[in-house]
């Protein structure tokens, strides 16, 4: 493509169907905690 560079191929929709296993870390949004926010969290099921 000439006009567009896509930087991630992640497909959020695909994760909805098989997601929700609950293995991932809790993620308090407030930085007074050690947990991470949702945005920088890793899925622990796909290791």
């Amino acid at each position: 493509m000439k006009h567009i560079t896509t930087i991630n191929k992640a497909d959020l929709k695909a994760t909805a169907a098989k997601g929700g296993c609950g293995k991932c870390q809790s993620s308090c949004q407030s930085a007074c905690k050690t947990s991470c926010t949702v945005a920088n969290q890793k899925c622990e099921a796909v290791k």
Binding site: H3, C28, K33
Partner: protein
């Protein structure tokens, strides 16, 4: 839904529902301000005239590329997640904040715990209560293996015996129950000594070290009881801890207030002290406090985030991570997780020194949210159910917010405390959250461009 913005010299487009992130040229950027789904395969006849600042050939080829993304589901993807929100049920409790000390040896002006006592009397958790908390987690965590427990306060080092006994107890029984405890601690550092540093670095998978940046900023707000500089006491101890920590996680976190809206300097100062994992969080407080950040301060806060973002993009050495600018675009959490966020009151709870259970550390001490007690064995499943059903589609405004799959509906406690309703996002926090996300996405774009050379 899409969100487009300019940052770090890039035109960035986030396709909200697919989570696709695209860097586009000016023609595509302007075109996305005009077109809306559903897209036809043919370029609309009036488009070249409406974008007459670009050669017609470019307009047509740009449209064709956007259409291709659209067909792939990476542009104007539809929001069909709400059906999952209806299936949200209670989850096992897998994570706990253990408030081992409702007491503190600093008197930070902005402390949400009201200088450590959470509005009640000062007290320390007994080791027995710590052990009961471990039993509670084992009983209530179902088939979850990884259990997180954060030692918090007040200042947890003031209850050191309880910390050690709780950890030892958990380690002695975790295997037989098929659990793996991950401990973390959040400390102001005043009581750190060699023995505690060694223990923390061995047992705690993460630790949060509170410091507000430059000496004058830290000392102005993080006040000691004897009037001496907190900075001078804390910094050498943190440096020692981090030097001997190896590869384990930590971060040094600052709170910024109206007194230091130039907080980039505080972040850089902490980097100069040798810390590489950094965070600076806006104070959330009553707007009448002199240090409160208000709507009027937002333009200044935004330009400061811009400055920090640029510094990070341009650094080739002495790099650092800034907690709130980190996003993982490739292996982030699943959509289900993103709908619900922090999990407070559902898979996450807080326990105070008396063994009282609350949805999270910020709800501690608010009577109406008390969920139960470790001693009498009570645990209110109605409150759990309530939080299980709290998600981006149940909150005012989140559904139409472009940041929803990164933010997950914000902090329930802030919403309750400052807006009076768990389902009403704290708008001031939302504004800053969205700005930080733009910076985070821009830095991710910048990394991708640089990697591709």
């Amino acid at each position: 839904m899409i969100h487009k913005f300019r940052q770090l010299g890039y035109n960035i487009v986030l396709d909200v529902n697919s989570n696709g992130v695209h860097i586009v040229d000016d023609c595509a950027y302007d075109m996305l301000g005009i077109i809306a789904p559903p897209m036809a395969e043919e370029c609309p006849a009036d488009l070249p005239a409406r974008l007459s600042q670009y050669p017609e050939q470019d307009v047509r080829s740009t449209y064709a590329e956007l259409y291709e993304l659209y067909k792939e589901g990476a542009l104007f993807a539809e929001d069909d997640y709400e059906k999952y929100s209806g299936t949200m049920v209670k989850s096992p409790v897998k994570s706990m904040c253990l408030n081992v000390a409702h007491d503190c040896n600093l008197r930070c002006e902005y402390c949400f715990a009201q200088t450590g006592d959470f509005g009640g009397e000062r007290c320390i958790m007994t080791p027995e209560t710590g052990r009961k908390a471990i039993d509670f987690l084992i009983e209530n965590s179902g088939n979850r293996e990884n259990i997180e427990l954060d030692f918090f306060g007040g200042e947890p080092l003031m209850a050191w015996d309880t910390v050690v006994e709780t950890v030892n107890y958990a380690r002695s029984i975790e295997k037989q129950h098929g659990k793996n405890f991950r401990f973390t601690i959040t400390t102001n550092g005043v009581l750190l000594d060699d023995e505690k540093i060694e223990y923390i670095n061995r047992e705690m998978s993460n630790c949060v070290l509170s410091l507000d940046g430059r000496r004058e900023v830290t000392d102005r707000i993080r006040k000691t009881l004897n009037g001496k500089s907190a900075y001078d006491v804390i910094v050498p101890k943190f440096q020692k801890l981090v030097r001997s920590r190896g590869e384990k996680d930590y971060y040094v976190r600052a709170t910024f207030t109206k007194y230091n809206l130039d907080f980039t300097d505080d972040v850089l100062h902490m980097r100069d002290l040798g810390f590489e994992q950094l965070s600076a969080e806006p104070v959330v407080t009553d707007l009448n406090e002199p240090y409160a950040i208000t709507t009027d301060d937002l333009p200044r806060v935004f330009s400061e985030y811009d400055r920090l973002c640029e510094v990070m993009a341009n650094r080739t050495e002495n790099k650092f991570n800034f907690f709130h600018f980190m996003v993982d675009l490739d292996q982030g959490p699943c959509a289900i997780k993103r709908l619900r966020g922090c999990g407070c009151g559902n898979d996450y709870v807080a326990v105070d020194p008396h063994g009282d259970i609350y949805p999270c550390h910020q709800f501690v001490g608010i009577e109406q949210w008390k969920m139960g007690n470790l001693y009498d064995g009570t645990f209110n499943n109605d409150i759990k159910e309530y939080f299980a059903k709290t998600h981006v589609y149940s909150k005012e405004g989140c559904r139409d917010c472009w940041a929803k799959f990164f933010c997950s509906g914000g902090c329930n406690a802030n919403s309750f405390i400052y807006e009076g309703d768990v389902h009403k996002p704290h708008m001031l926090s939302c504004e800053m959250q969205r700005k930080r996300l733009e910076c985070a996405l821009a830095l991710a774009a910048d990394r991708a461009v640089k990697e591709q050379g």
